[in-house]
């Protein structure tokens, strides 16, 4: 059962740079969406998007190698935690799992927009498959084996799962998981084309919801085996067990989730955690704000929890839909909830579409001593992921 070292977490989100800032924004319901047309150009649909517009990414070209730039900034922020990890025990076998939905989309955009002679070799290399993992590690001043996992918008939790399996198998002692996706023309236009983009900003689980707000984000966190985590005294004292993780690929449609598939992945995760629905104290749903997603999750919740659905929320009303990073952001928020007993409200939800679902409205809800918190992540193609976080021994 790997340990999540939450004090190592770093995040770049539209609601703030740094995981502590992002978490405070969630509790305050502070979001900042901008116009896609104003940010990315006249040739795009005019829908709200969520971008990391401040701080070190302020001058980054949104249609260039932006994911790489995000990886560079995130890597720089992880120098301290990763150095502390390395120096705590030089014999540790450490790896890096990078999770992304789109990869470096900006490389294709650059080639589409430019004449051949204007394209840099960095862009061409990205088109040939050089993704951001190496940039992250270079910036973090680390050399370690890496693997890049693509599982659509479920990538972040899939990345956590792959890392957990590597640690449980004894191949790695510790693993830094990086989830990252930059805003892109393909994402903005594509979500609009499949009818999944909100015109007014996403309102997860609201009766009048009209779609999601496509966004970007990046996060990184360190996982370690339980035995090794006990040795890592310099990496902060706030820890949780990733008690289980499960995934599946169940759908009848490439862009519409299946409630059966979602219920099955929750059931599998509970089974692996050797726990029951009644032991779950809060749920961080995928909660994109599309008609289909939220309805499918509500149906799966009814199937799983019956009349006793624990309090739930969505982080996307604040963060937007950070695509491949969203699953890790959800997990980090679930971890904070487990540690602090606070579950943020679903920003944007005014009139609950599913009153029995227990979605927290208006302001954060205090949960006395939560034991287990569940985090969900779904992706195109029927991808469903679920993790159970547990306080365990502190």
């Amino acid at each position: 059962m790997p340990t999540l070292l939450i004090d190592t977490a770093c995040a770049l989100t539209p609601a703030g740079i740094g995981w502590d800032v992002a978490w405070k924004s969630l509790l305050q319901g502070r979001r900042r969406f901008v116009s896609a047309r104003e940010y990315l150009g006249e040739r795009l649909p005019d829908v709200p998007i969520a971008v990391v517009g401040d701080g070190p990414l302020r001058d980054s070209n949104p249609l260039g190698l932006r994911e790489r730039e995000m990886a560079r900034v995130l890597g720089g922020a992880m120098v301290g935690p990763l150095n502390a990890l390395r120096t705590s025990s030089p014999d540790l076998r450490v790896g890096c799992v990078v999770a992304t939905s789109h990869g470096e989309s900006g490389a294709v955009s650059t080639i589409v927009d430019a004449e051949e002679s204007e394209v840099s070799h960095d862009v061409y290399r990205a088109v040939l498959g050089e993704f951001s993992a190496q940039t992250f590690l270079d910036s973090a001043r680390q050399v370690m084996p890496q693997v890049t996992v693509a599982a659509a918008c479920a990538s972040g939790l899939h990345g956590i799962g792959v890392a957990c399996d590597f640690i449980d198998a004894g191949i790695l002692d510790a693993c830094v998981v990086v989830a990252i996706d930059a805003i892109s023309r393909v994402a903005v236009a594509g979500f609009r084309q499949v009818g999944a983009a909100s015109r007014r900003g996403c309102a997860p689980f609201d009766a009048s919801r009209d779609g999601t707000t496509v966004g970007e984000g990046a996060a990184a966190v360190v996982l370690a085996s339980d035995k090794v985590a006990r040795l890592l005294t310099t990496l902060g004292g706030r820890r949780l067990h990733v008690r289980s993780w499960a995934m599946n690929c169940v759908a009848r449609h490439a862009v519409e989730p299946s409630s059966d598939g979602i219920a099955a992945v929750i059931k599998a995760s509970l089974l692996r955690a050797d726990t029951s629905p009644g032991d779950i104290d809060a749920v961080f749903w995928h909660g994109t704000g599309t008609i289909q997603n939220d309805a499918a999750e509500a149906a799966a919740a009814t199937s799983t929890f019956a009349e006793r659905c624990p309090p739930g929320t969505s982080t996307k009303g604040v963060f937007g839909h950070a695509m491949g990073a969203s699953g890790l952001l959800n997990l980090l928020a679930a971890a904070e909830c487990c540690l602090t007993g606070l579950i943020p409200h679903a920003e944007g939800m005014i009139t609950p579409a599913f009153p029995g679902l227990g979605i927290v409205a208006g302001q954060p809800l205090a949960i006395p001593s939560p034991r287990n918190v569940l985090a969900m992540s779904l992706g195109f193609g029927g991808l469903n992921s679920c993790a159970v976080l547990s306080r365990g021994e502190q």
Binding site: R43, H102, Y124, V127, F191, A254, F380, L383
Partner: protein
């Protein structure tokens, strides 16, 4: 020096060749089989009007369906991992090029689910009913062997009864342009090859996965040090992973034991040891 790590399988994971599909280059995908598979993938994903199905997804679907047909397994406990760095690039390029030049009303409305790399796995999985999991690995030359390592670890975690690992590349025009600009060789192959890892006790004549090893080459157990080696990552372009996996039929017919190998960043070597039971 960090000690090496072995993960032993004790004859409990059987490795089977899953076949190859050659010549599905996006520009010349004229075969009837591909046309039929494109249609099937569209239907299975609920997107009959979609025009954007990658050649990688088609060839992967052929190999996955072949496994399910030959094994008699239902897809419920079958997982799929695709190693590919070209699966979504061609679709994404066409989508953006059409949208920015001719307007978004003219693009395939369902291009997005096919313009992300995971579609190379999820579309075939949906079509064939492989439900355990489906995702894509993007690690260029080392992608194939990393996919096999992950599959082995996931079998150990009992996340599937069988996993089909496919190395697949299509090398669309935009990648060919990039290769030329970077002055690197055009790939020698495109298409897909598959290896199946099945969680069952190996019997005489079966090829089994003996171990996964990460560490320094010198730490490899002594009786395996002289085994023949299939190296992943020898070439500069993504299809190298595909080429390495495609050597399986020859290697397994000539050697009782052999190694798949790749040098990882940080000085580690990743090795997968296979042997034929006699």
């Amino acid at each position: 020096m960090t000690p090496g790590r072995h993960l032993f399988f004790d004859g409990s994971v059987v490795a089977e060749w899953g076949g190859s599909v050659v010549q599905p280059l996006l520009e010349s995908e004229g075969s009837q089989e591909f046309a039929e598979w494109k249609q099937e993938l569209r239907k299975a994903s609920g997107l009959p009007r979609s025009r954007s199905v990658s050649a990688v997804a088609c060839s992967t679907a052929i190999l996955l369906r072949r496994f399910l047909s030959e094994s008699g397994m239902t897809g419920r406990d079958v997982g799929l991992i695709v190693a590919s760095t070209s699966a979504a690039v061609g679709v994404a390029y066409d989508f953006e090029r059409t949208g920015t030049r001719q307007g978004w009303d003219l693009v395939d409305p369902f291009a997005l689910p096919n313009a992300i790399p995971s579609a190379a796995a999820t579309q075939p999985a949906l079509a064939a009913g492989a439900q355990a999991f489906a995702f894509t690995i993007l690690d260029q030359q080392a992608g194939g062997i990393l996919a096999l390592e992950i599959a082995a670890v996931m079998l150990l975690s009992e996340r599937a009864a069988a996993i089909v690992v496919v190395c697949a590349e299509e090398f669309p025009v935009v990648q060919a342009t990039a290769a030329k600009a970077c002055d690197v060789d055009t790939p020698s192959s495109a298409g897909a090859s598959a290896l199946r890892l099945i969680r069952r006790r190996g019997e005489r004549g079966d090829t089994v996965l003996s171990f996964v090893f990460r560490g320094n080459r010198e730490d490899l157990q002594s009786d395996w040090r002289s085994a023949p080696l299939v190296q992943f990552g020898a070439a500069e372009l993504p299809p190298d992973s595909l080429s390495a996996l495609a050597q399986w039929p020859v290697v397994v017919s000539e050697h009782a034991r052999f190694l798949f190998s790749a040098d990882l960043p940080g000085g580690d070597t990743l090795m997968l040891g296979f042997e034929v039971l006699c």
